[in-house]
């Protein structure tokens, strides 16, 4: 039994699917933001997996640097998204993104 590129790519795809489910199936803005975070996390995991086990392993720090940048951008996106969620809540007293439908 071993743990290599295939295992981590499958896990990354599963994590991305969980994120897509959170964005598509839930109405709460907070849960949708968490879904996007999971999608970012899945992408970063793919970068790290390729850097460790793929052809880029001779320069493994490149994939890790990409993961670092992706994580920082994800945090920035979360901050802006949460500010938007706070505005939605102030307007509609709810985190539901389709609260405007009436």
């Amino acid at each position: 039994m071993s743990a290599g590129l295939n295992l981590l790519l499958v896990a990354s795809a599963a994590l991305f699917a969980v994120g897509v489910f959170g964005v598509v199936a839930r109405r709460s803005a907070v849960i949708m933001l968490l879904g996007t975070q999971f999608m970012f996390m899945a992408g970063a995991l793919g970068f790290v997996a390729f850097a460790r086990f793929g052809l880029g392993a001779e320069r493994a720090t490149a994939g890790a640097a990409m993961a670092l940048f992706a994580g920082a951008v994800a945090v920035a996106e979360l901050a802006v998204g949460l500010a938007m969620a706070a505005l939605i809540y102030r307007e509609h007293r709810s985190f539901a993104v389709d609260a405007d439908r009436g």
Partner: protein, 190 residues
Amino acid sequence: MPLIGALPQPITSASLVFFVYLVLIVLLGSALASVLLRNTLYGIGAFAASMVLVALLYLAIAPFLLVAVQLLVFTIVSAALLIGLLRETTGLKVSSVGRLSPEWIIGAAVCAVLFALLALVLGATTWPVRVCCALSESFSGVLSTSYAVGLAVLAVILGSAALGCGLMLAAPTLPSPRGGGSTTPRGARR
């Protein structure tokens, strides 16, 4: 001479493989719980647990700086932002259990012991970093030399995001025809 070199070997150490599988299974469960739970606070807790588990996974396959940043910066900032949002909007319910009750003391003691054990294992053996993560290049050195422009762009992005958040939250909310606007309850105005 082949154009493409041989791929690096997968992890075969039994303990490390078990560690990776365990972390991945718990990570996926935690991520699912995060998007499925109805209680937003529990969802945020599961999300923070997922971030910690990703950091543990990076411990086995990535440079240590990435582990530290994921664990100490991304996890804490994300959880703090989410909990701050809840405090500003729906509010956090005060626990019915007192802060000095036996439940809290036992939970804090167990957490402290587990963290101390983790720190002891990492400090004494550097497992699994030593087993799997022996990179020849210094990650922080590569970041500051090869990715200096990227780091500067990242600083601009983070600064812009912080500025945008501050401006959005500070802007007055227009009164809606369906109600809303101020967050203070109407009954409190006299």
